[in-house]
């Protein structure tokens, strides 16, 4: 079974998605347990993969037994496997906390939601694990199609949001496909590791430059990098809260990982380091984006919309740090991807439960509630996440921001450093505004001991905030060992 591990991670949610789609209409009670079971299976297999690759090194898997250059190859290494298990954990958290919400909202058709959600999971896991450039496009489109459908589940604004996301997302995917097409035209191969050997002698040619540009532009639309971000806040704040909880932490980060994967595996780190123009251009665009997004986050009225801008700020931060021509920068980005998934999970999960249990939608609604007395765990994990977003020591966010600043200084990109610090201070003001409403408008209410949330929600919040601290404590293990397993 160990030899089949890479495909087992992927196939469980895929089969469950098809099964739920088929049996859902007449056997509704089976759908929810089946969805939870398949996600648990994929968590179990990815954790097994972490253990296996940590002890015995990375492994590759050829689908259907075809050779690498003909068929599709999957690559599993320790970093990959950790990313896969965190993604499955996010999906599990969403499925567990949103059960009641989905049953109430779609009493007849909730099985379709679970089917879409598992298809989305399949696509995301596929993007992370695949080693084939065209296969990546197919998984990207599976993710996008299920996201369009899920985003349109909200009220009527969400149809427009989803339509806009569809148009922009299709342009992104088409640019990526065009880039892959040019690569195929030049080399006649699609496997990422083999492509690298063909691309090496062609470094100076215009066609490689063009395909690099097309791929980076296409994926930066999916990452929601600064000028291409307009779809994200609109889509994620208009849809229902479980959908934003499961998509906001994952989609942009996994697209960023796909971008790094294509750059590192296909073009090679040396190609990235030979691009002088990008070194000055990209960090500066990211710096403008960071300040713009943090101000936007501060001025939003809706809680979820302001978290969307925090997410965008983090995306710009990470994508900008990729271009400093330093391996440490790429490592820090890969490390920050893991931390950021957990941070955004806590933020959007708490926004979702506050909407559902307390009817808190806007910042002004926070004033007359007694969250402070009741929801100790929510506040604890929220504070940990805020510390991590701001980059304050015991949390993982501190180390990645520290590395970003270090690398930016080495590359003499002072504008990036300044805007990182300035935007962190603006976000500090944003979080203080948030906590000020909770702490200083607090009225003592008798008999307000018990938490309104189900125990599983509190457990998820606690686990993800503790993981942020744990990843911070183990930063050297990640930077020196685990991420090297991916970079090679």
């Amino acid at each position: 079974m160990i030899s089949q591990l890479p495909i087992l991670i992927l196939i469980c949610p895929f089969i469950a998605a098809l099964l739920i789609g088929v049996i859902g209409s007449f056997k509704k009670s089976l759908c929810y347990p089946l969805a939870v079971l398949s996600i648990l299976c994929s968590i179990y297999f990815s954790l097994l993969g972490v253990k296996e690759t940590f002890l015995n090194g990375s492994r590759s898997y050829n689908l259907g037994g075809w050779g690498q250059s003909i068929g599709i190859a999957f690559y599993l290494n320790t970093y990959n496997a950790i990313l896969l298990s965190i993604i499955s954990f996010v999906l599990l958290a969403t499925v567990l906390y949103s059960r009641k919400f989905i049953y109430l909202r779609f009493p007849d058709k909730f099985y379709a939601f679970y089917s879409l959600l598992l298809l989305f999971l399949t696509g995301i896991l596929g993007i992370v694990i695949t080693g084939d450039a065209f296969n990546l496009y197919v998984f990207l489109e599976i993710v996008s199609l299920s996201s369009y459908a899920m985003i349109a589940l909200g009220r009527k604004e969400s149809y427009v949001a989803s339509f806009r996301y569809l148009i922009i997302g299709t342009i992104g995917a088409s640019f990526y496909l065009l880039g892959v097409g040019i690569l195929y035209l030049k080399t006649g191969n699609l496997n990422m590791q083999e492509l690298h050997h063909y691309v090496l002698p062609l470094y100076k040619t215009t066609s490689i430059k063009a395909s690099f540009l097309f791929i980076v532009i296409g994926l930066s639309i999916k990452i929601a990098f600064f000028p291409f971000h307009s779809w994200l806040p609109f889509a994620y704040s208009k849809t229902i809260s479980p959908v934003s909880t499961l998509m906001a932490p994952i989609v942009t980060k996994v697209s960023l990982f796909a971008c790094i994967k294509v750059i590192v595996l296909v073009f090679g780190v040396d190609y990235l380091f030979s691009l002088e123009g990008f070194k000055y251009l990209m960090p500066n665009i990211a710096a403008i984006g960071m300040i713009y997004f943090s101000i936007k986050a501060f001025t939003q009225k809706n809680i979820r919309a302001s978290f969307c801008y925090v997410l965008l700020m983090e995306c710009s931060l990470m994508f900008g740090a990729l271009w400093f021509q330093d391996v440490l920068g790429i490592k820090a980005v890969l490390y920050h991807i893991l931390i950021d998934i957990l941070m955004m999970l806590t933020l959007f999960l708490s926004a979702g439960v506050l909407e559902y249990y307390y009817k808190i939608y806007n910042h002004s609604d926070l004033l007359d509630t007694n969250i402070l007395a009741k929801e100790k765990i929510l506040l604890f994990s929220f504070i940990i996440t805020a510390l991590s977003v701001l980059g304050i020591p015991p949390t993982g966010g501190f180390f990645s921001k520290f590395y970003f600043i270090l690398v930016a200084f080495k590359a003499n990109s002072y504008f990036y450093v300044i805007s990182l610090i300035v935007s962190s201070f603006i976000l500090l003001a944003f979080f203080l505004k948030f906590f000020e409403k909770i702490y200083f408008n607090y009225k003592k209410v008798p008999n307000a001991k018990n938490s309104k949330f189900p125990i599983i929600t509190n457990a998820v919040l606690l686990v993800s905030s503790l993981l942020i601290i744990y990843f911070g404590a183990k930063v050297h293990l990640f930077i020196d060992v685990i991420i090297n397993s991916f970079l090679g």
Partner: protein, 122 residues
């Protein structure tokens, strides 16, 4: 310049691609945006399909015991890849059209500026 004349098919796909891209970005009518999306995807499919074509090449069915001359056989792989891309394109089109139907039912319009105005009014 000589290259452009020689590889005129790529020029044609580039024109189609820009046409679709322009329609998706600049058109106000949402249905026209969807048409632009179709044109864009069609241009990409044509681009891939034309990769596999060779002069005087035959169909890629090879009798078993024969010695194969690769120059005389069209490359089937891009065509097979495009089967997947066509399926993706069709499903994207279906999702887009059903979203458009919902939008026109709710807002009684498929002009983007009108919809945005209606959304701000609420």
């Amino acid at each position: 310049m000589e290259l452009l004349f020689y590889k005129y098919n790529y020029v044609f796909y580039f024109i189609l691609f820009s046409l679709g891209f322009y329609a998706m970005m600049a058109k106000n009518n949402l249905l026209k945006k969807i048409i632009g999306m179709s044109i864009l995807q069609a241009s990409l499919i044509l681009f891939f399909v034309s990769m596999g074509i060779k002069n005087n090449a035959n169909i890629p069915i090879v009798p078993e015991s024969d010695v194969v001359n690769a120059k005389l056989i069209a490359n089937p792989l891009p065509h097979v890849l495009m089967l997947t891309a066509i399926v993706v394109g069709v499903s994207t089109l279906a999702v887009a059209l059903s979203l458009l139907q919902k939008i026109s039912k709710e807002y009684k319009s498929i002009e983007e500026d009108e919809i945005l105005r209606l959304m701000e009014d609420e």
